[in-house]
């Protein structure tokens, strides 16, 4: 028993080095003065300055954020409804097909989703004249479709743990059904809805493959811009952009983690208090 942890812990250290050395190397080289991205030529922050004045990057970022906000919000509404439908609606007609439709996008290879969406939009344009041009609308529609099922998975898991006696109790105490829904059910599943939204937002912000199939002229999202530059090789301004994105995400995750820990601690304290006052 004594010897095993040494091996395991060194594997853990190796694993974390494997995870973080490439990212750290990328961050270090974003401060490289040399135009050659992989040869060190002294410290410089000029690539950050260049990034700031690069209107294409800013425009692409704005488009990505816009798509992510809209698609994550609609995906969260639809995904939550689907989660409620699967857990709460019992045996409705077509349930088997529905639960299949909710799982299939999770395992569908992105390239197939992309190709089928593009064929669909192209044929639709041929038949009914809409969408006349691919861009913001088609990207958003595709993003909603493949991110809503992630929301469903999260909401569904939360609803399955849900203690329905609370709802019964509220109804016994005279709450109207819609009051139960807004005072009990939605607040209890709201953390799941929030994580679902965050996941949908991140997935949309990060997507390359499906976006590249559903985009049209003039609609370049940030991942598509990076994709087109990265295909040509490693450049220092992409290193700078990557560093900023990694730092933003890292900060976001750490803050979200701290907030979640706090709420969890408060909930536990409340629970203890409730037990104590009830004897």
């Amino acid at each position: 028993m004594k010897r095993r942890p040494t091996f395991l812990l060194s594997m853990l250290a190796f694993g974390f080095a494997f995870f973080y050395v490439p990212i750290l190397s990328m961050i270090v080289y974003s401060f490289n003065a040399s135009r050659l991205a992989t040869v060190w030529g002294g410290f410089s922050t000029k690539w950050y300055a260049a990034l700031w004045s690069n209107t294409k990057v800013i425009e692409a970022l704005m488009l990505s954020l816009k798509i992510a906000l809209v698609s994550a919000t609609i995906a969260t509404i639809l995904g939550t409804l689907a989660g409620i439908a699967l857990v709460r609606m019992g045996k409705f007609r077509g349930r088997t097909l529905f639960s299949g439709l909710v799982t299939a996008p999770l395992i569908m290879p992105e390239v197939i989703t992309g190709v089928s969406s593009l064929i669909f939009f192209l044929l639709l344009a041929q038949w009914i004249g809409w969408p006349a041009q691919r861009g913001f609308t088609t990207i958003t529609l595709a993003h909603i479709t493949f991110s809503m099922v992630f929301v469903t998975t999260i909401v569904q898991a939360r609803l399955l743990q849900f203690d329905r006696a609370i709802e019964e109790a509220a109804m016994d105490l005279g709450s109207r059904p819609w009051q139960v829904l807004f005072d009990i059910t939605l607040p209890v599943i709201s953390p799941a809805i929030l994580s679902g939204w965050l996941l949908a937002f991140t997935i949309s912000l990060d997507d390359v493959v499906i976006t590249s199939f559903t985009t049209g002229p003039g609609s370049t999202t940030l991942p598509l811009l990076i994709w087109s530059k990265v295909k040509l090789g490693v450049t220092p301004d992409i290193n700078a952009l990557a560093t900023l994105m990694v730092l933003a995400v890292g900060l976001g995750v750490v803050v979200a983690g701290i907030i979640m820990n706090r709420t969890e601690a408060r909930r536990l304290a409340d629970e203890r208090l409730a037990y104590r006052t009830n004897g």
Binding site: M11, M89, V253
Partner: protein, 302 residues
Amino acid sequence: MARLKAWFDRSGWSDLIVGLPYLWLVLFFLLPFLIVVAMSVATKTPTAPPFSFGGEHPWINLGGYARLFGDALYVRAFLISLMNAATATFFCLLIGYPMALALTRVSKSWRNILLMLVILPFWTSFLLRVYAWMGLMGKSSWFNAALTDVWNWIVPIDWAVKSLPMMHSNFAVVLVMVYTYLPFMILPLYASLERLDPTLDEAALDLGSRPWQVFLDVTLPQSIPGIIAGGLLVFIPAAGELVIPSLVGDAAAPMIGRVISDEFSSARDWPMASAVAVALLALMVIPTMLYSHYQARAEGTK
């Protein structure tokens, strides 16, 4: 509970709750997919859109599927995809298993921090994680230089190289796949290992088992559901991967995702692209069914 549902049914909200997401998925997921399935038996034409269901072969043309088996390009692409995905899954397991096991052995406060560090790369851009390795594997990078030194030191002098040709190879594809998909392996493994009862280990040790015997006889068999879940979570997306082989892969030996994309965009052969896509999906269905089978059995034994 029944009362709340009865109210939903009576007031018509049920129809909306079920109908809205249902309609959406049928329209934007099922319909496009059925179009692809139909497209796979169409005939390529030089018109716009480039397909028809008439011509020499009335209605159905199975030529696309015949080419899948006849043309070495497709067979090879499928084999390379399966090989790369299987190799990546194997190495994810090799690295991920000890990491997951180690995570169950550290103190509670460390565990949360380390788990967050496992998840953190997953939240950062996928594209940028691939890109980070492009920087490391390039001919002039410090990482390549260091590995080259090691290589030259190990091998006989005739094999010495100036830099290792890592980029644009299957090696690069597998390495980056392991890097990007490792969290998918660690998390389900950790979830299944964490549930194990540590007193079982102690009992086996007390009864005279050596530590590696305890691992083989007690820990490993109990974690098989986690291994299967993690393996499929890595294998399925890896087999259909498009971004990684496009950026670091060998363009002369494309994976199947690249073939679909090229057939569609460059060759404008919609029926062929669809046939390859349907074949890839058929290949995915087998491991997925295995997964749900094991999942159902795991639920049953609980």
